[in-house]
């Protein structure tokens, strides 16, 4: 068992999906244990792959080109497509996040989804999602990756709309699917453009082809930006970020797995895998990645200040984190992006599962109806606090190390403006995460009834929270040599995942102090504003009511899109519909049918039924043909 057998990792959940789909209702407990065992098996199989990878890397990390296996899929004369699985350092980081979080979320779901009429279906789709996501991670070529990419998008659609009886859930599922699809079209165009010249879908071969100067620079820039459009859609970056907050209509474990830890970071992962192409392309491509990341950070952080739904606030913080990852990629630091992705998967999943605990206990999602839950739910409150502090980036929690890597990368590579925007976002992150924590867990309960009945959700819900709390605290230490060595990658994270050359971890005291001061002041200001009855915050909101309205209406971006859909797209659709109805249908289809009908009506009178008429017609026809033929012969000769 090693990298060559990595295909087993997605194959096992896929097999479980087929089993549950066909025989789910006949399996005891609706097959939840099948799903958990399958995903557990994937998680266990991750370790031999990791060991094999470490053997292969050996003492010379610079020479290692990744391992795996591929098979011939389509083979024509001069046209071949291989499908295969590929393992390298970036893959392995993504793999551990996906399989570990998926396993914990499944265990949590047993308790969270208990009694749901579609309990079995939930686990069936979760299996399909896990299989697709693992395939996406392990795919060695863009076409295969695209198929898995659409697979996870489809599962996301099914799970956001899991409670489709609720109209808002059905709408949110549709919105997520359509919005990400806009980006996916770009992704597909990018894949076709890259394939057209390189004649291969294999990512490594495409990168080699590009580095060998195979692409024209402008052509490659357009192609990588098209790839990036796919990432923008999937990872909820501006301007396609609108679907992610709405996606919170799905069950909370789904939000934890799909819309925090795994699927939404697929865009980051894809860009990280193809980042060498961005290097070869015009620098404008990386600048666009950077700019989109920064815009998303600022938009989501400020929107998070005004959101009132506990899950939506976390969703905005996810957008914020995804923006940070793209900023890291824009600064060419795969190390920082993947480190953030790695630790984010744990603490964000934990935040969502904590929110799920709160919703499970109180059946409330609006923070205005929560409050004072810390006494009732100590485990949730404690783990949520750790997650909040990790998100804000307080030393020594995992979020701090990852965020500082991003800051170092930006400070080295980018303009002061980008660096300043990033720093200011840290303050806002501190502000809204503190607000969320205070309003949910501290001070007086605003809904006494709900608070009175609140309780922890039992062992199966508490256990994943506690397990996730461990990496939330310590995962950041992988930057250090000692921890890295214990986990098998000598020299720390920077020596393991890198783009141009491995680098050792350096602790930049100035940056660390600056970011801690900003994040800390965010917490302090947040505490002052929202403590007690939050009078200060209310007063500020009333004074700055236009700003508050702007934020709580999410910068009116959704409204602008709605307006554009209603006026522009439906307007064009009306013209197309008119064309279809009048020209295609009435003239083309009905017209030809009508022509036949009227011709038949006119010509039927020639069918007299009298033999002499037919005989005459035959004779005259034969004579006419003969005359034409003879005339033609005479004319030719």
């Amino acid at each position: 068992m090693g990298m060559e057998q990595a295909w087993l990792i997605p194959a096992i959940p896929a097999a479980a999906f087929v089993l549950l789909l066909l025989f789910g209702p006949y399996i005891p407990r609706r097959g939840d244990w099948v799903a958990i065992l399958a995903i557990g098996a994937s998680f266990v199989l991750f370790f031999p792959v990791l060991l094999d990878l470490q053997d292969a890397i050996g003492s010379d990390p610079e020479a290692f080109q990744g391992g795996g296996k591929s098979w011939e899929w389509i083979s024509f004369e001069g046209f071949e497509i291989d499908l295969g699985f590929f393992v390298d350092e970036i893959t392995i980081v993504m793999l551990v996040v996906v399989s570990f979080v998926a396993l914990l979320v499944q265990i949590y779901s047993v308790s969270y989804m208990r009694g749901d009429p579609r309990y079995g279906w939930y686990f069936t789709v979760m299996c399909l999602f896990t299989a697709s996501m693992l395939t996406l991670v392990l795919a060695d070529n863009l076409l295969f990756m695209y198929a898995a990419w659409e697979g996870v998008g489809f599962c996301s659609f099914l799970l956001i709309g899991f409670w489709w009886e609720k109209r808002s859930a059905a709408e949110a599922a549709k919105k997520a699917f359509v919005t990400t699809r806009i980006g996916d079209v770009g992704f597909l165009i990018g894949i076709i453009m890259l394939w057209d010249k390189a004649d291969t879908f294999n990512i490594q071969e495409i990168i080699e082809f590009a580095e060998g100067g195979g692409y024209d620079e402008t052509y490659l820039t357009v192609a990588v930006l098209a790839l990036f459009a796919g990432a923008v859609g999937k990872s909820g970056q501006f301007p396609l970020h609108v679907w992610l907050p709405d996606a919170m209509e799905g069950p909370t474990p789904v939000s934890a797995l799909i819309h925090a830890a795994t699927m939404v970071v697929a865009g980051v992962y894809m860009v990280a895998r193809t980042l060498p192409l961005f290097v070869v392309a015009d620098p404008i491509a990386l600048d666009i990645v950077m700019a989109i990341g920064l815009i998303t950070i600022m938009l989501s952080a400020t929107m998070g200040l005004a959101a009132t739904d506990i899950k939506r606030v976390i969703a905005y913080s996810t957008l914020n984190s995804l923006g940070l990852m793209f900023v890291a990629l824009g600064s060419l630091s795969v190390t920082a992006a993947m480190l953030y992705l790695f630790v984010h998967g744990f603490f964000k999943a934990m935040l969502f599962l904590g929110a799920g605990s709160v919703i499970h206990a109180t059946e409330k999602q609006e923070v205005s109806e929560l409050g004072g839950l810390a006494r009732k739910m100590p485990i949730t409150a404690l783990t949520f606090l750790l997650g909040t502090l990790a998100m804000i980036g307080i030393i020594p929690l995992s979020g701090f190390w990852a965020k500082d890597e991003v800051l170092v990368a930006v400070e080295h590579e980018q303009s002061t403006a980008a660096y300043a925007i990033l720093l200011s976002s840290l303050f806002i992150t501190g502000l809204y995460m503190t607000r969320l924590y205070i309003l949910t867990f501290l001070f007086e309960a605003r809904d006494k009834e709900a608070n009175h009945h609140a309780h922890e959700g039992g062992l199966l819900m508490a256990l994943p929270l506690l397990i996730l709390a461990v990496p939330t605290v310590i995962a950041g230490f992988v930057v250090f040599d000692a921890v890295g060595e214990a986990l098998g990658f000598v020299g720390g994270f920077g020596q393991f995942v890198w783009l141009e050359e491995p680098h050792e971890f350096e602790f930049h005291t100035d940056i660390a102090v600056l970011s801690t001061v900003l994040a800390g002041s965010g917490i302090v200001v947040g505490w002052i504003l929202w403590q007690g009855k939050a009078t200060l915050a209310t007063r500020i909101r009333d004074t700055l009511s236009p700003v508050a309205a702007l934020l709580s209406n999410r910068y009116y971006i959704d409204q602008v899109y709605q307006w554009a859909i209603d006026n522009v797209i439906l307007g064009i659709s009306k013209i197309v519909a008119w064309f279809d109805r009048v020209v295609v249908n009435d003239t083309g289809v009905d017209g030809s049918a009508g022509l036949t009908y009227f011709a038949g009506f006119g010509l039927k009178f020639t069918q007299t039924g009298r033999l002499p008429n037919y005989a005459l017609a035959i004779a005259v026809g034969a004579i006419v043909l003969a005359v034409i033929f003879i005339g033609y012969e005479v004319g030719v000769n």
Binding site: K604, F605, Q607, T608, G609, R610, L611, A615, L616, A619
Partner: protein, 102 residues
């Protein structure tokens, strides 16, 4: 040897007589007889050309025999139809047999 034109003219005359009969006659039996004339005119053509163009082959003769066989079968079928028509309508006049029109 008699020139081929003689045969062709004979054939054309018989064919024209047959065609006149088909177009001008109203009695179904007479029309049938006229059709037979046209068929035999064609047979004459076949044999004439066969003898003049490929005397070593029998293609034309075989075709003529086929035409005769088909004509015989056709007569049997057509007379049966005419008989049924007469039984039903008490006439063999094709002008009165127009029940197949629109």
């Amino acid at each position: 040897m008699i020139p081929i034109n003689h045969f062709l003219v004979l054939s054309a005359i018989i064919f024209s007589i047959g065609m006149y009969g088909v177009l001008a006659r109203r009695n179904a039996v007479l029309i049938l007889m006229s059709v037979e004339l046209m068929l035999q005119a064609v047979s004459i053509n076949f044999i004439a050309f066969a003898v003049y163009l490929h005397p070593e082959q029998f293609t034309g003769m075989i075709f003529a025999v086929f035409v005769i066989v088909v004509a015989a079968a056709e007569v049997g079928l057509a007379l049966a139809i005419i008989l049924r028509l007469f039984r039903n309508r008490q006439t063999a006049n094709v002008d009165e047999a127009d029940m197949m029109r629109w």
